[in-house]
Symmetry: C4
Subunit: 191 residues, 4 copies
């Protein structure tokens, strides 16, 4: 089984996830600025999730590029990742519509955390399929950035209970460190 | 007619089906754990359907891979399969929102059964197009796993009327036997 | 400009159209057979539209396959066709939810008619781009089936005002004559 | 990183955006002409946005075709463009449902303006990646049409506050000048 269709299917699912999130931005009835105000947190959540999904798509692309043989393990690890990403529109909508309330903001972090772990598992499956001297294993190294992200997600989830905005700040910070070109950040954290 | 566009179109439809199911997970108004509770059966239904669609996509991929020439029969048998899969979000939503009530749970099994039969018909069309010495025919053999699945679906539908949770258990069991790598299970049932 | 991306984009749009139509099948609140009854006409409309979109996808595929050079005309004629097809979910929903009332049933025919004309225009653009000795022109001949279909749509629209079910019968008949393998039907109508 | 997956992902997102816009055309409850009347502005907005997205897809296609190497900058500039395009269904729905009221019509122009700027940034990124002697840079020249469009959008946004229909006229005019084959219009504006 080649990777073309795995990529095509993942692209399709990610494209749909990134787009249906916007459906949570319900068209308001009024026509003044006040009718847009309650949509602001929904919009901010949308931006945050859009960037996260964009990062996943980008990294997924690079990672799958190194795949030689699509095993059953890779296939299901990939579907597992898509499953958690598919819950992001729900978590985004709940967090946004409730103006970053405690539990919705924590759940948002939980979905991100699970997606992060699913990504980690997919990574492990691909490395396992490539055997010793895996290109992906070399590129990732000790994966300090990945481990740091998981720690940040857990910190954010816990702080969401008391200080939801701190959690939102951490989610944004995670997006930022993944947006900035990879190499230098990795060095930064490795030191 | 090549198979590339058949694959691309099927991937597109399956990607959309697997993703729009999540729209049934309506964002609740409350922000506490209690407001999530009624969503639990909807979520479980979603997981069950996600796995089923994932299995179909996986198997569809392998099966279409053996196609040499896309005939009109294969094309319509494929659309027929996509039709029944497209009804799964509706059946999933009805079952989940009604907390696995009798009729919705039976209908869920009916849609799975029809999708299974549609898959079987597509399989027959592909084998017919490949003539004697078909690769697919050899790979499938007596298709004991397929026939066993149909029997399980019918059992589940009937039991759904009296014991819906037994039906849900059987649906999950079917997902499980298809998730586990093919070969060994086939041998298991063949014995 | 190659045709690969034209095909990919059309496949994407058609896959989404065929799938979002199912969203009109709203999950009912009851759990008995009676709660499904009002959905029956919606379901029948869905089946009818699914088959129509399937036919369009199939024929579109064959037609675009003959394209050598994608001109601006072909590109916009293609988007024009996708535009009318994109209105089919709306027309399907309106007809189905109103149990094949007069005006919705006539509008359904109007959307099909416009899609048919858009397909005809796309066909003309492709033939024009291929110049004398066009493969497509030869394959289509005098296009008696196409012209007959347009006549059937107009007849159906008119009869929908007084006898909506006759219109629905004609729409189903059109689907049938396009489902049956092309060549023989063409000969049948040509005689 | 090749451009194939960038194109595929963009095609997917654009195909979904162009199609989910039609979901704003909510199926009316009545079955007479009067029940369709309030949908007319929603429909007109849909047509306007459909054409705009069609133009973006078309131009995006041609522009990405000249890409040799997909840099991180191009990738994120592309996602940035898709982000603004993904807000068009919301802006279209708000403008249409409020019958071209002042603020919604101005916001519609704002989203178009931001998409236009995002397109401009993507263009700059691609030119930068191609270095001196860039094919794209030559094809675009001084980009008078692009700059003129930005000016038109700003004019439309301002006029939307007092005369929304003038804004709608300008949006339609912009669509028209991009629909008409490129070369000749460019010469027209250059003179």
């Amino acid at each position: 089984m080649g990777k073309t269709r795995l990529e095509a299917f993942s692209d399709g699912v990610i494209a749909i996830i990134i787009t249906i999130m916007v459906l949570e931005l319900k068209v308001p009835h009024g026509t003044d600025f006040e009718s847009l105000t309650p949509l602001l947190p929904v919009f901010l959540s949308y931006v945050l999730s859009f960037v996260h999904i964009g990062i996943y798509w980008n990294n997924h692309h690079h990672m799958v590029h190194t795949v030689k043989q699509v095993t059953a393990g890779i296939l299901w690890a990939n579907l597992h990742l898509l499953f958690w990403l598919s819950l992001l529109p729900f978590a985004t909508g709940w967090m946004g519509e409730n103006h970053f309330a405690a539990l919705p903001t924590a759940l948002y972090g939980f979905v991100l955390l699970m997606a992060g772990l699913a990504y980690f598992i997919l990574q492990k499956c691909i490395i396992a399929s490539q055997g010793a001297g895996s290109i992906l294993a070399k590129a990732i190294g000790r994966d300090i950035k990945g481990k740091f992200t998981v720690m940040l997600y857990i910190t954010a989830m816990l702080s969401a209970i008391f200080l939801p905005w701190v959690a939102v700040f951490i989610y944004s910070f995670v997006a930022l460190i993944w947006l900035v070109p990879d190499k230098r950040i990795e060095v930064l954290f490795a030191e």
